[in-house]
Subunit: 338 residues, 3 copies
């Protein structure tokens, strides 16, 4: 696909070469994200970072990615505050905001809202999460992390085994990641969840139709046994009818040092989309693994900046320009990325 | 007037040559706002974008305008969060904030607050809306839009006919726009509203004293008949004693394709300060006009950036400097302004 | 100490030469803070300005200081909105945010939280206030102001007399300022407060052990009598069990023109950390002193920018670089700092 000026709404708009193009560009962003060099590729450009649902982490990650390419960031983090509450349509909001933004990232609680917004927007729109629907930059950073982690272990994505654990029914991250993995060959999906929180049958069918192997189990030990990567998720409390209903499932599928040692392959990569719930009653990914070399959760968020920079660079067509006219970062940057 | 270092508080501080000076400078900002060129005129300068009342659109528009001249934007969008709730005076807030801002835009729910704030400020202050009182950059962008739209139809502001529709009692935008139009010659005002929501008699008297013609009617068909521009407004629900009281008037004066075709001159420009209320019970400006070439509402918001850039450039005295040392915008900007 | 890459968490980490180093660097920032020159020392760097407790003034002051050195600012001002409310640990938040910020300023309502956050952060962290505990940049700007004010009166900090007035039990600013003054010689502390709101005995003991003189009184007249500086504080209502309990003390110790003239030395500097409570029932520092040449409260906030620039420059090691490649500020800057 031609990324120039395109809206990035769903992982389903990508073919495998598109995903690999994004990852190659992400690789080229390392000198900037790791603060060795400063790029001015987007000097003067403006990101409209419109978060109509709170998300400090994702909002700041997109903003930093844009700053690292030299651009300005204007943003909102206030839903109650917006004209939308005065009866304004997404059409109007999009027409207005796209008049003064060169690219827009939008998060909104309603599924489909970002696509509707993009339809009316005069500037390219990147989906920063539209409710239960999609969060494509998260799925991309997850797969990018898998690629990097497996490469450093002399393996690739084709043929890999992945365990997905937890609330697979409501977790949009595992849905989108599955659909990206679908573009590759011979993936083994080990889906571990309570029966009631299984991966939607439609997605399972898609994966199987594409030639992948999917097994589903409630038995953590069995599901963990043979994976290159395990991907933990938190119970999506906000998608349940009540906190009580969510409590039934909370804490049922956990990974900690003891379980990892007993059930996982010694080199299994541990992933989680964050935030993880570290309260005792949940604790789906225990902090006793924090120093474990296979814990990739913070490398995931670091990679998120690279992937978001890549999306901006591709959509705004400055991939070639990013490494030009760079300067050395002139301040203390420590050993943050060693 | 000399704009250098001046506070912009009210449309009443302008004479006609001042307004025309602002518009000429706004014209010169087009290459930057339309993303063909990047200016560094305000490189290093800081805007304090202080919104003590929510307004995503206006806040972001001012911020983008400042970024487009190369400056930094620091801002607040939190009223509950501010020291004002700990009993701090506007005097103190102004003295403090003006110590680290080169120019301040302030919105605040109380009429007169921005003038009081400006009194104490050491940096120039631009009124971003002070409750029922004024929102001068909105009035300027409205008139600037009228000028542009009529020019492209080989007409001018002098002698024009304008229809103003809706809640003319509470709508500060129509009050301020009227006072700007007052500076011109021989304007015909066709004021269309329920009797209870008529334009304040003081303003009508001002207009007549200045030689303009004002007619007031409750008859939409009659009022729409002969205008170069119609300016729709929403019912200012927040100014009524109750939602119920506002409901009496909601939806009574609407413009849609059918009404436009039947009652308006074929070349009548359609304006609205936005947000428009697109809920069925209100819908004062129907979406079936969205593709109409005479619908100027999104050109209004685009023009808002130009007018705000002009105000910054004039107040900070960089009008001559803006077109110097510019660079070409190096990223994809699409066909957003065609 | 070596400031490079260091966390700034507590005034207790400084020795006298460290404090003086900060102040000398702050002096060198004047051309930038007073808008005569623009520095690009931090061009491309990113501040993560993380305010998990509202504070418009402090947040904007840190952000402006970073902009004045040429850097980008990404920020949050939303506690309810953050992942912390979904059960995320400070450890996780710190690991994530420090992946895309070159330095972090953090404010958080819980004492000790910033130190805990810094422990996990890969980038240097500056404490922007952690509840009842510390707010080191405030203490530094207070002492820096004292130094400047006394210097202009041909005096120094050693041997000075300082009156501290109000809620000395809960006011973290007077605690931290006292601990910085402790590093100097022969200070006379005149502590004026209700018996129930006295300075914590531990701090008084520290001061005396370091050779300073401390007197405590409930008699305003007596305590005001002989000081180079008086430092007023507001009743920290949020630290009391109820508003009613705070009301007992509110308004008991006030300074106004009449009291100043009667009880203070004619050249006594008047300070307050702001916000001051200007409501009639509190009004600990009356506005009838607003034009008084010895009122230093707005010079304090101006100095805050200098001190915060100094902290950034020291921690990120760009002190030498700041005055290089500067340009003249090209916009109107008025007479704001005369």
């Amino acid at each position: 696909m031609d990324f120039r000026g395109t809206h990035i709404i769903s992982v389903q708009q990508f073919q495998r070469p598109d995903v690999e193009r994004i990852f190659d560009v992400a690789d080229s962003m390392e000198p900037f994200a790791q603060r060795r060099q400063v790029s001015k590729a987007l000097d003067g450009a403006i990101l409209g970072n419109m978060f109509f649902e709170p998300s400090t982490r994702t909002r700041v990650s997109f903003g930093c990615a844009f700053n690292m390419l030299g651009g300005h960031v204007r943003e909102t983090a206030e839903i109650g505050a917006s004209s939308i509450t005065k009866g304004e349509s997404l059409y109007d909001t999009a027409r207005v905001i796209s008049g003064y933004s060169d690219v827009i990232v939008m998060r909104h609680p309603r599924a489909g809202s970002v696509a509707e917004f993009a339809e009316a927007s005069r500037a390219p729109v990147i989906n920063g999460g539209d409710g239960v629907n999609e969060h494509p930059s998260q799925a991309l950073l997850d797969l990018y992390t898998i690629r990097k982690e497996l490469e450093s272990r002399q393996r690739g994505i084709d043929g890999m085994h992945i365990g997905m654990v937890g609330d697979l029914k409501h977790g949009r991250t595992v849905h989108s990641l599955s659909r990206l993995l679908k573009l590759y060959r011979d993936i083994n999906f080990n889906l571990i969840s309570p029966k009631q929180l299984r991966m939607p049958p439609g997605i399972v069918a898609e994966l199987r139709a594409a030639g992948h192997k999917v097994s589903q189990t409630e038995d953590m030990a069995k599901g963990l046994h043979d994976n290159d990567t395990v991907y933990l998720t938190r119970i999506q409390e906000e998608r349940f009818a009540s906190r009580l209903e969510a409590d039934v499932y909370r804490g049922r599928f956990r990974l900690n040092q003891a379980i990892y040692t007993r059930h996982c392959q010694p080199n299994t990569v541990i992933m989680h989309p964050l935030p993880r719930d570290t309260r005792a009653e949940a604790n789906e990914l225990d902090e006793d693994l924090n120093q474990h070399p296979n814990l990739a959760i913070f490398r995931q968020t670091d990679n998120g900046v690279l992937v978001r920079m890549a999306l901006f660079a591709l959509v705004l067509d400055v991939v070639e320009k990013a490494p030009q006219h760079v300067q050395q970062a002139g301040w203390y940057t420590g050993r943050r990325f060693e």
